[in-house]
Structures are given as structure tokens and as C-alpha cells.
């Protein structure tokens, strides 16, 4: 394609967008809304992921060793288990010392429970927190283990959240994508319809259909880009004005990685460009075959 052809196509792109201001604007707004929401959902999902990783790291279980059993030996057996990341031995005295904080001035109560002695415990970190229940169950039956204690409810609640966010997030994202694509598609159909004669005449005087189509693909790309860029700004604002302050106020709740931002922003760029080009690609498919 010659430089002149590109220039003429570019001229047509400009006049085309100007002439279809309404439809172009509608596409931009819809792409903007959809991509912003998608970006926000993704951002929250990623932030939550960090939260989860953080909370997971706090979830550990405690294995109480039967009296008279060799704690060191048991802990090295446990350490070899594939699902266990690390083990840490707490002697009975340490456990007792930990508990005694809660019984200041009432040491007799603690004594009456424990007879002044406590079994050794092993703090176990599992590799994958979602497996915590299974690991706990299998350890429970092991020789030498008296009891397994882990924050079951907390783990389950957390996974409940993640699943909900994943499910609803995916559904909402999908719906938004479909709506944005449809609006862009309709806008392009409208644009094609309004320029039907122009396209027909161009093809009759010998225009290469690929060039004619290129004009619409470029228009799509531009609409997508504009919608995408505006949504980048609004997502950025959300990031700076809402999430960042939350992070600073309650750092353990969400943890924002700057890599999150890059992931979200590049996703937004890709999605909006794909919507723009995809919609005009679909809308122009028929046109080229017809005349």
C-alpha cells in the first residue's frame, strides 16, 4: 500500500468519525464504562488475592504431640510431607508460657488444667491453604499426634469470598464485554449504513476492499483506544483515591502491588482495542463481499 493510500484512508477515517459523532461517542462511552468496570473488578480481585496470600500466611495449624512421643522425630517426619511447607517446634514449656499471658494472677486456674505441664506442639504451615482441612484430617490420625487445631472457619470464609468474587466477577465481566461489543458493533453497522453509497461508489471505481475495510478497522481501533485511555485514567483515580488510602489505613486488609497496576492497565488497553477492532471487523465482514 502506498503512502498516498494510507493518507487518503486516514482522511476518510477522520471525516468518518466526525460525520458519525453520535455513534462514535456512544461507542467510546460504552467501551469506557465496560473497560473501567472490568479494570476495577480485576484490580479488586488482585488486591484481594494479596489479602488472601497475606491471611493464608497467617493461617497455620498446631499439632499437639502425645506425651512421651519424640517431638523432634515427629517434626522431621512432618517436614517431609509434600503438602507441608514448614514446621516449627514449640516445647511444652513455651506453650505454657504463651498461655500464661492469659492467666496472669490466676495461675492456679492454668495449673488445674495442665497439671503444671503441657505437651509439646508443632506449628505447621501448609503449602496450599486450600488443602488445610485435608492435611489436618490426615494428620489427626497419625501416630503420636494428640490433637490438630487450625482456624477452620476463617479458612473457609476466606475461600468462600474468593469463589464469590471469582464467579460474580467473571459473570459481570462477560456481560460487560458482550454489551460493549454489541454497542460498538451496532455503531459500526450504523456507520456503514450511512456510508453505504460511499463504500459502493468506492468499490465501483476500483477501490481495494481491504483498503475500504481498513478505514473502518482504524476507526474501531481509535474508538477503542480513546475509550480505553479514559478508562485508564478513571481506574488510576480509583487506585490513587480509594484503594491507596485504604491500604495505608489498614495495611493488612489489602496489599497493592505496583505490578497489579501494570497488569490491570495493560488488560484494559488490550480489551478496549480488541472490542473496537473486533466490532468493526465483524460489522465490515459482509460489506466487502457484497458489491
Amino acid at each position: 500500500m502506498s503512502f498516498e493510500s494510507l493518507r487518503y484512508i486516514w482522511d476518510d477515517v477522520q471525516s468518518g468519525l466526525k460525520r458519525n459523532k453520535g455513534a462514535s461517542l456512544a461507542s467510546i462511552i460504552l467501551i469506557f464504562v465496560a473497560v473501567t468496570l472490568i479494570g476495577c473488578l480485576l484490580l479488586m480481585r488482585l488486591a484481594l488475592e494479596d489479602t488472601i496470600t497475606y491471611v493464608e500466611s497467617q493461617i497455620s495449624m498446631k499439632v499437639y504431640v502425645e506425651e512421651g512421643y519424640d517431638t523432634e522425630q515427629l517434626s522431621s517426619v512432618l517436614a517431609e510431607n509434600d503438602f507441608i511447607q514448614s514446621v516449627e517446634v514449640e516445647s511444652g514449656d513455651e506453650v505454657l508460657a504463651g498461655l500464661s499471658h492469659f492467666f496472669v494472677n490466676r495461675e492456679h486456674l492454668l495449673d488445674s488444667f495442665t497439671n503444671g505441664a503441657m505437651n509439646d506442639a508443632i506449628r505447621v504451615q501448609v503449602t496450599d491453604a486450600s488443602l488445610i482441612e485435608e492435611v489436618a484430617r490426615s494428620l489427626d490420625g497419625m501416630q503420636g499426634i494428640e490433637a490438630v487445631i487450625y482456624p477452620q472457619e476463617m479458612a473457609q470464609t476466606l475461600y468462600g469470598w474468593i469463589n464469590k468474587v471469582d464467579t460474580y466477577g467473571s459473570i459481570i465481566t462477560l456481560i460487560l464485554l458482550i454489551i460493549a461489543c454489541m454497542v460498538a458493533y451496532i455503531a459500526f453497522h450504523l456507520a456503514l449504513y450511512q456510508r453505504e453509497k460511499e463504500i459502493r461508489v468506492k468499490l465501483l471505481v476500483g477501490a481495494n476492499p481491504t483498503h475500504v475495510r481498513l478505514q473502518f478497522l482504524i476507526e474501531g481501533l481509535l474508538l477503542g483506544l480513546v475509550g480505553g485511555i479514559i478508562s485508564l485514567f478513571s481506574t488510576f483515580a480509583l487506585f490513587e483515591l480509594v484503594l491507596q488510602p485504604i491500604e495505608q489505613a489498614v495495611p493488612f486488609l489489602i496489599q497493592l502491588d505496583s505490578s497489579n497496576r501494570i497488569i490491570v492497565f495493560s488488560m484494559q488497553c488490550i480489551v478496549s482495542i480488541v472490542i473496537g477492532i473486533g466490532a468493526s471487523f465483524l460489522a465490515t465482514r459482509k460489506l466487502i463481499r457484497d458489491v
Binding site: 453509497k197 465501483l204 471505481v205 476500483g206
Partner: protein, 215 residues
């Protein structure tokens, strides 16, 4: 220039052209006439492939047109329509230049040629007018210039005078004839006006009952 060999075309059950034989030499001028609905437009549309024939061969410059890309075929010819097919939002000059732009030619080159031809057909004073501001005859002259812009070796005109009064029709046909001689271009002109054909005194063909005969 053009050779049709046993070309047939039907729309559903309606057989419009049957085993048509036709030819037009390089640099030849010919009329094609026939009653309304006899298949004149169908024949011309087959030539620039707005529609496709059912069977037969169509050669242009010895080359089977089915083997060319549509746009390559259309670049070999200029087409003039009864309804002018000018774009309302473009000026006379822009309408003409469109034909050069889609070929990716240089702007100045296109513009010079467009102005030359528009001046030739008496539209020098209307370059920046819009089609609506012109008379029917002026619009058709614009369309003729657009067809000639890329210096094709062939012009197809489908009832170019169909929307014009008698006097203007004669003027357009005379112009086509003159341009045919000046620019050295073959022309196939469809018209259903017997009177005009007689006045022009040119070679002509007629479509009847799905066949094309030389008169």
C-alpha cells in the same frame, strides 16, 4: 477489448441472458439498446462484476475476468450510471478525485487531471460546487469525468441519459462520442432511445429475448 462467449444469466427461474455472443473492439464506440427489462443492465453488471454470470466466458483484453480480482477488473474501466452515483457530501472536484484516490495516486497528479477534464466538459466554474447545486446534465458530466480520470481503455455507460431531458441527453452522448475520440477509449453506451441512436449514427447492438444482435 470485450468478448462475451455463450454467456447466460438468470435470476431464479427468469432467464435474462441466454448464450449471448458479443464483442467490442479496442477504441470502438457502440450503443446497446433494448426494451426496459430486456437485460441491458444485467449485461453491463456482468462486465464489471456487480453480479456473476451462470456460464460462458467474458474476456477483457484477452483475459478472463473471473480470474482477476474485482478491483483489478474495475480499474481497467470507467462506469457511468443513470443515477450518476455522485456523493452528495463531496464537491464536484472531490467526487472526481475519489476515483484517483482509491488507486493511491498522488494528490497533485489526480487534481491536475481532474481539473483538465472538468474544464474540458465545461465545469471549470463548478469545481467546488456540490452535486445538488448542479443540473442533471452537469452532474452526469461530472460522473463521466470521474469514469475517465484514471485513463481507462473502456467506458461502460448504463443509460447515462435516462434521467435527462432530450436536449441534455443528446449533449451528453455527443460529449461521450467526442471524449471517445479525444481520449482514445472504447465505449459501450446503453440507451433505450431509438431516436438518439439514429441521431448519433453509430454502430449499435440490441438485446431481445435474451440474445444480443448486431444491427
Amino acid at each position: 477489448m470485450i468478448v462475451l462467449n455463450r454467456v447466460s444469466k438468470s435470476y431464479g427461474d427468469r432467464k435474462v441472458l441466454q448464450d449471448v455472443q458479443f464483442q467490442l473492439e479496442s477504441n470502438e464506440f457502440a450503443f446497446l439498446k433494448g426494451k426496459s427489462g430486456s437485460g441491458k443492465s444485467t449485461l453491463i453488471k456482468l462486465l464489471y462484476r456487480e453480479i456473476e454470470r451462470d456460464s460462458g466466458d467474458i474476456l477483457i483484453d484477452g483475459q478472463e475476468i473471473g480470474q482477476m480480482k474485482k478491483y483489478e477488473l474495475r480499474r481497467k474501466m470507467g462506469v457511468v450510471f443513470q443515477s450518476f452515483e455522485l456523493l452528495e457530501r463531496k464537491t464536484v472536484l472531490e467526487n472526481v478525485m475519489l476515483a484517483g484516490k482509491v488507486l493511491g495516486k498522488k494528490q497533485t497528479e489526480i487534481e491536475n487531471e481532474a481539473v483538465r477534464l472538468l474544464t474540458r466538459v465545461g465545469l471549470a466554474g463548478h469545481l467546488h460546487h456540490f452535486p445538488k447545486q448542479l443540473s442533471g446534465g452537469q452532474q452526469q458530466r461530472t460522473a463521466v469525468v470521474r469514469a475517465l480520470l484514471n485513463k481507462p481503455k473502456l467506458i461502460l455507460a448504463d443509460e447515462p441519459t435516462g434521467n435527462l431531458d432530450r436536449e441534455t441527453s443528446l449533449e451528453i452522448l455527443t460529449l461521450l462520442k467526442e471524449l471517445h475520440e479525444e481520449e482514445g477509449v472504447a465505449m459501450l453506451v446503453i440507451t433505450h432511445s431509438e431516436q438518439l441512436i439514429q441521431q448519433m449514427n453509430e454502430k449499435s447492438w440490441v438485446i431481445e429475448g435474451g440474445k444480443v444482435y448486431e444491427l
